[in-house]
C-alpha cells in the first residue's frame, strides 16, 4: 500500500485550504505540504461565492474595527466568541490587499481604489467584491498563487476517507485516488481540515453537489466534537426551482422584495434596515408572508419576488452580471425586465468542528479552518460576506500554526493493521456488500426530512418526527448496495460514502436543535419563540456515540459587547 509522507497535510482546496497552504509555504520553504482535494481546486464550492468579502478598508471614511466587530456579534445573536471576532476584523483587511497584490480583479472605484458595497446587517458599506463573482476570483487568485511554491504538492481528486489519531495526536489520513481507485495513506505531523460545510443535507440549497460535510463527519466519527450544528443559515433568495443563489448583493445594490400585493413587506419586519436586515430576519419575514398567503403562486409552489427592474440594465450588467446570466439560463427570466422568483434556501453551516481561535481542535496537530470549523465568529447567524473573510483569515492562521507545530516533531507511523483495516472497511465491507437499498433514495428522503422538520420554523413535536426519520434512514443505510463494483473513478462508491457522512451530520443538527429550547439567530422555534440568555447563552458540543450524538455545553466568550435585544 502506498504511503506518502508529508509534514503537513491539508484536506480541501477551497478558499480556506488554499490560503492555509500558501501561509504554510510562506512561513517555511522547508516543510512539505500536501494539498488534497476530491475535486480539482478550482472546482471547489468557494467559486460559487458571489457577493463579496467584508473588510474594514476605509477608517478615514467612517468605518472601524469596532463597527465590524459589533455588526458581526449582533448578527450572530451574541453566540459568537468575541475574542475571535476582534482578532478576525483586524486581520481581514490585509488579506484583501494580499489578494490584490496576487492579481484578484477587485471591482474598483473611479480613483482606482478597491470598491465596497452594502450588505445585510452592516452599518457601513464594507463588502469588497469582484463583480458578483467574488469567490470565483478569490479561488482562482489563490490557486494561481499557490503554483509559485515548490513545497506545496497537490493531490487532486483524492477522496479522503478517514483520519488516524493515536494518543490524542493526529498522524495521518487515508484517501482513495479516484483515477486509479487505489487507497493511499498520508502520514503527517499535522493535518488541517478545510473541507467546507454540509449544505447538501438539505434538498433546496444553494450549495454545490460536492458539499457533503465529509471532513465534519470524519472528524466527528474520530471523536472530535462538533459545535453548534443546529444553526443552519437560510438565505432569503434562492432561485426557483434550482436553489441557485441570487446574491444578497442584489439587495445591497438596491433590489426590493415584494409580496403578491406588490408590497415591500420588510417595512413591517425591519423598518430601519428593510431588505438589508440580517438573513435570519429576512428569511423568516419571507416565510411568514408565504405562510400567510401573500406569496405568489408558481408551478413550483409559493414564492416571493426579488425586484431589480428599477436598477436599470447598465447597473445590473456592471454589478450583477452573473445574476442576470443565471436568472436567464436557469429560470428563463431577465431581471432587467421582470422580478426574479425566489424563496429562502439552505445556505450555510454555522456549526462546525470545535476549535479555539487559533484553529486548534482538541486533538494535537489537528486544525480546522473555513466553513468546516466553528471558531466561532458567526455564532447563531452569519453575516453575509463574513464567510469568505473567515476562510482567508483562519486559513492563514491554520497554515502558520501547523508549521510551528511540526518543528522538531517526528512522524508517528500509521500501522499496517490500521491500513489493512481501512482497506477492508472500504472495499470488502462497503463496496463488496450486497443489499436492497438504493443510497440515492436514502439521500432523497434525508433531504426531504431536513427541508421539512429542520427548516426555518421549528417545533419540538415536528423535530421529534425528524429525528425518528433520520434514525430509520441510518438503519436502512446499513443495507445499501453500490452498483458500480469497479475501482477506477468509482463515483458511485464516493457518493454512497458521502451519504453516510450526511446521515451522521443530520443527526447532530437534529439532536442539537431539539435540545435547544429557545430561539436564537437562525434557530427559530415556534414553541420557544424567545431568546433565553439565562439558560442558552452557550455553545453546543456534539460528541459521537454509536447510538447517537452526546451533547455537552461550553460558555461563550464575551469581551466587550453584552447581549442586548436584537432589532433592525
Amino acid at each position: 500500500m502506498e504511503v506518502i509522507k508529508s509534514d503537513i497535510v491539508i484536506i480541501g482546496a477551497g478558499l480556506a485550504g488554499l490560503r492555509a497552504a500558501i501561509a504554510a509555504a510562506e512561513k517555511s520553504r522547508e516543510v512539505s505540504i500536501a494539498l488534497i482535494s476530491k475535486t480539482y481546486p478550482i472546482r471547489c464550492h468557494s467559486v460559487c461565492a458571489e457577493g463579496g468579502t467584508a473588510a474594514v478598508l476605509r477608517e478615514d471614511e467612517g468605518d472601524s474595527f469596532d463597527l465590524h466587530g459589533w455588526d458581526t456579534v449582533k448578527g450572530a445573536d451574541f453566540l459568537a466568541d468575541q475574542d475571535a471576532v476582534e482578532f478576525f476584523v483586524r486581520e481581514i483587511p490585509k488579506e484583501i490587499l494580499r489578494l490584490d497584490n496576487w492579481g484578484c480583479p477587485w471591482s474598483r472605484r473611479e480613483d482606482g481604489k478597491i470598491a465596497q458595497r452594502a450588505f445585510g446587517g452592516q452599518s457601513f458599506n464594507r463588502t469588497v467584491f469582484a463583480a458578483d463573482r467574488t469567490g470565483f476570483h478569490e479561488v482562482h487568485t489563490l490557486y494561481e498563487r499557490s503554483l509559485m511554491y515548490p513545497n506545496i504538492t497537490r493531490y487532486d481528486e483524492y477522496f479522503v476517507t478517514n483520519l488516524f489519531i493515536e494518543d490524542n495526536a493526529v498522524k495521518g489520513v487515508s484517501a482513495i485516488h479516484l483515477k486509479t481507485g487505489d487507497l493511499v495513506f498520508f502520514n503527517a505531523k499535522a493535518v488541517i481540515l478545510a473541507t467546507g460545510g454540509a449544505g447538501r443535507l438539505y434538498g433546496f440549497t444553494t450549495y454545490s453537489h460536492q458539499v457533503t460535510g465529509d471532513g465534519l463527519a470524519i472528524a466527528y466519527r474520530a471523536g472530535v466534537p462538533l459545535k453548534d450544528m443546529e444553526f443552519v443559515q437560510f438565505h432569503p433568495t434562492g432561485l426557483i426551482p434550482s436553489g441557485i443563489l441570487m446574491t444578497e448583493a442584489c439587495r445591497g445594490e438596491g433590489g426590493y422584495l415584494r409580496n403578491r400585493n406588490g408590497e415591500r413587506f420588510m417595512e413591517k419586519y425591519a423598518p430601519e434596515r428593510m431588505e438589508l436586515a440580517p438573513r435570519d430576519v429576512v428569511a423568516r419575514a419571507m416565510w411568514t408572508e408565504i405562510i400567510e398567503g401573500r406569496g405568489f403562486e408558481g408551478p413550483y409552489g409559493p414564492y416571493i419576488a426579488l425586484d431589480l427592474t428599477h436598477l436599470g440594465e447598465e447597473k445590473i450588467e456592471e454589478r450583477l452580471p452573473l445574476i442576470r446570466d443565471a436568472a436567464r439560463k436557469f429560470a428563463g427570466i431577465d431581471p432587467v425586465e421582470e422580478p426574479i422568483p425566489v424563496k429562502p434556501v439552505a445556505h450555510y453551516t454555522m456549526g462546525g468542528i470545535h476549535t479555539n481561535m487559533w484553529t486548534e481542535t482538541p486533538v494535537k496537530g489537528l486544525y480546522a479552518a473555513g466553513e468546516v470549523a466553528a471558531v466561532s465568529i458567526h455564532g447563531a447567524n452569519r453575516l453575509g460576506s463574513n464567510s469568505t473573510a473567515e476562510c482567508l483569515v483562519f486559513g492563514r492562521v491554520a497554515g502558520e500554526k501547523a508549521v510551528e507545530f511540526v518543528q522538531g516533531k517526528r512522524f508517528s507511523e500509521i500501522t499496517r493493521e490500521e491500513m489493512l483495516a481501512e482497506e477492508k472497511r472500504l472495499f470488502d465491507e462497503f463496496l463488496g456488500r450486497s443489499g436492497d437499498e438504493n443510497p440515492y433514495e436514502i439521500k432523497k428522503e434525508l433531504n426531504e426530512a431536513m427541508d421539512r422538520y429542520f427548516w426555518i420554523f421549528r417545533t419540538g413535536e415536528e423535530m421529534k418526527k425528524g429525528i425518528k426519520k433520520i434514525q430509520e434512514l441510518k438503519r436502512r443505510y446499513e443495507n445499501i448496495e453500490i452498483v458500480d463494483k469497479k475501482r477506477g473513478f468509482n463515483t458511485d462508491l464516493m457518493q454512497a460514502m458521502e451519504i453516510g457522512f450526511m446521515l451522521d451530520l443530520a443527526e447532530t443538527v437534529a439532536v442539537g436543535a431539539y435540545a435547544r429550547t429557545e430561539s436564537r439567530g437562525a434557530h427559530y422555534r415556534l414553541d420557544y419563540p424567545k431568546r433565553d440568555d439565562e439558560n442558552w447563552l452557550k455553545h453546543t458540543l456534539a460528541y459521537y456515540a454509536p447510538e447517537g450524538p452526546k451533547l455537552e455545553y461550553i460558555p461563550v466568550t464575551i469581551t466587550k459587547w453584552q447581549p442586548v435585544e436584537r432589532k433592525y
Binding site: E26, T39, Y40, I42, R43, C44, H45, V47, C48, L57, K94, L97, R98, D100, N101, W102, G103, P105, W106, S107, R108, R109, E110, D111, G112, K113, I114, R133, F136, H137, H140, E144, R145, L147, M148, D156, K179, S208, H209, Q210, P241, I244, D325, A326, K329, F330, A331, N438, P439, Y440, E441, K444, I482, V483, D484, K486, G488, F489, T491, D492
Partner: protein
Amino acid sequence: MEREVIFRIRRFDGEKTYWQDFRFTARKGMTVLEGLYFIKENLDGSLAFRASCRMGVCGSCAVKINGRPRLACETQIFDIGSTLEIEPLDNMPVLKDLIVDMDGFFRKHEAVKPYLIRRDDDYENPKELLQTPEELHAYYDFSLCIKCGACYSACPASATRSDYLGPAAITAAYRFCADSRDEGREDRLNLVSGSDGVWRCHFNAECSEVCPKSIEPAKAVQRMRLMSAIHMIKSIFR
C-alpha cells in the same frame, strides 16, 4: 410540460467503449446535468460524470452534446431535442464514461506562470495597488475562464500536437500580461513563443465558438502572437 427523451451515452468502463441508451421523462427547464443525475440515481448508479456547482462556474461538467462541447449544467435538454448524444471531451484520455483526465490540461495552465509577478512582492506588508476601471476592463473578460476544457476539446491544433499549450493556457498567459499590475510579461512571452506555443494555432477559432463563457480564447491567442512578435523583434535588436 413533460416529454420522453433518450440520452445516448458513450461509456467506457476501463476496458471497453460502448454506447448505451437511457430513456426517461424530462420536464421543461431540466438541464442535461439534471438528466445525468436522474440516470445515476434511478437507472444506473455506475454512470460516471463530473459535476459540482450546477451553475456554470466550477468548470466540472463539460461534455460533448450532439458533437459540441458544452456545460451540461447550463444546457437545457429541450433546447437540444429529444435524442441527446453525450460523449466525453476530446483531446484528453478518457478515464471512465464522461470523465477525462485533465491533469495534463492543468499542467499546461501551470506552465505559463499564470499569476501576478511583481518585483516588490511583500507578503507581510501588502499595499493597495491602484487600478482604474478601464485598466481592469483591459483584461477582465479573460479572467473569467473556468478551465472547463471545452476549447481544448474543440481545438484542431491540440488534436494534432499533444504538446501544444492550447487556447485556455494561452488565454491565462494573456490575462496576466494585460493586467496593469503585472511585471512578468517577458517571462511569459518566452514561455508561449516556443514550438509548443502561440505559433501552433491554426486560427480556426473553434475555441471561441464553443467557449461557454464567451471568452474568445482565439482573440487572446492572436494578441499573444502580436506581443510575442514584438518581443522577438525587440530581443533581436537588444
